[in-house]
Amino acid sequence: MSKESQMRAAINQKLIEMGERERLKELLRAKLIECGWRDQLKALCKEVIKEKGIENVTVEDLVAGVTPKGRALVPDSVKKELLQRIRAFLAQHST
């Protein structure tokens, strides 16, 4: 196992053990609601359902239909904030 792989495994373990991974996910979920992403996604789903008719849409169809736009709608500021939190955690715990 290379030194880098060892480091990755150690950091991943630390992230999980310290509950930081779950906190990061929670933070992102909260940010997605706060910035209106979730409402935009809901509206997008409603549009697809309206267009195709509820009797012609499965969950899989809908997920496939809204995923590309849903991903594109995540604001850069949210991604940046998450990255900064991760970077700060790694800086603190990578020794």
Partner: protein
Amino acid sequence: EEARRKEAFLDQFSGELCAKISDEVLTESIRATAEAEIRLALEEKAACIARCSAEECDSIVEETLAEQLAAMTQDILDNELRRICKFIK
């Protein structure tokens, strides 16, 4: 050199982790939202059908009562008039 390599590694690892966490959360959230919206649309459709059925039921009752009452009152009045005519004769 060692410190610079470590920084570069941490930058790269942060980016990968950020992408992974984002992917997990977005996949979860999109699915949960899609499921909720489908459930909501189905509930709305069921409620709409229920309302339309009730309206249709009222309309059938109204129409039938109107027809029944019109025929019945006509019959009764005709009979009454016949009875009176017979009485006068």
